[in-house]
Symmetry: C2
Subunit: 130 residues, 2 copies
């Protein structure tokens, strides 16, 4: 089965906010060179989740892992995105595209990211106080 | 000089979104037991930045490090929060409270957090594909 992953960020009208997410995606793509990794924004910016899902489906990917670059799980990830995905699943079937979509929990809830935040806070405070 | 730190998250009306930030703050407080660490939300939730700054100032802290729990620097961190801080600085002086405020860059732009995200994405994809 051909798999791809979509990193899902919130999105913003501010290009300055968007830029680090593309750099992060490129860096993860480079690290996980065997995987196909794309970036999508939930709202306010392109490429949207819609754009990326149908692009990857048209390329023949059969399973898409959607990994939210969020710190926590609010209304967006518990209601809005699952509703969008349900619509996309129906549209994919109508187009005879057989693609399964898995929405993961946000990266910010995972131990590795929490540990990274702890290290950064410790470092910033040490730098200020010395 | 007595220092304290405020971890600043975006904020949401959704209590489910807010909860992990308090857990993260508690865990960082535990790890950095010599520091005083508080959590504040930029909007939509209490405690606000305003609440925490004046609470810590009243307790006699003289320097506050404000560390954004954000992935990137958009309008909020480049305009809204600096404007708020300028207002707070003026209000602190009016109340004869001598407190300096430092706004840091967001944790999400730092190597330790980026590395954590890379590890989590790699882990999630490995788990799905095997």
């Amino acid at each position: 089965m051909r798999n791809a992953a979509i990193l899902l960020a919130h999105g913003s009208r501010d290009a300055h906010w968007l830029a680090p997410f593309q750099r992060l995606t490129d860096s993860i793509q480079q690290q996980l060179s065997c995987e196909r990794i794309e970036l999508a924004f939930m709202e306010l910016a392109e490429p949207s989740l819609n754009t990326q899902i149908f692009k990857l489906a048209a390329e023949g990917f059969q399973h898409l892992d959607i990994i939210p670059l969020f710190f926590a799980e609010g209304r967006h990830l518990r209601k809005d995105v699952p509703q969008q995905l349900q619509q996309f699943r129906e549209q994919l079937i109508q187009k005879d595209l057989h693609v399964s979509l898995t929405l993961h929990s946000p990266v910010g809830l995972e131990a590795e990211v929490i540990q990274g935040i702890q290290q950064v806070v410790g470092k910033k405070l040490k730098k200020t106080h010395t």
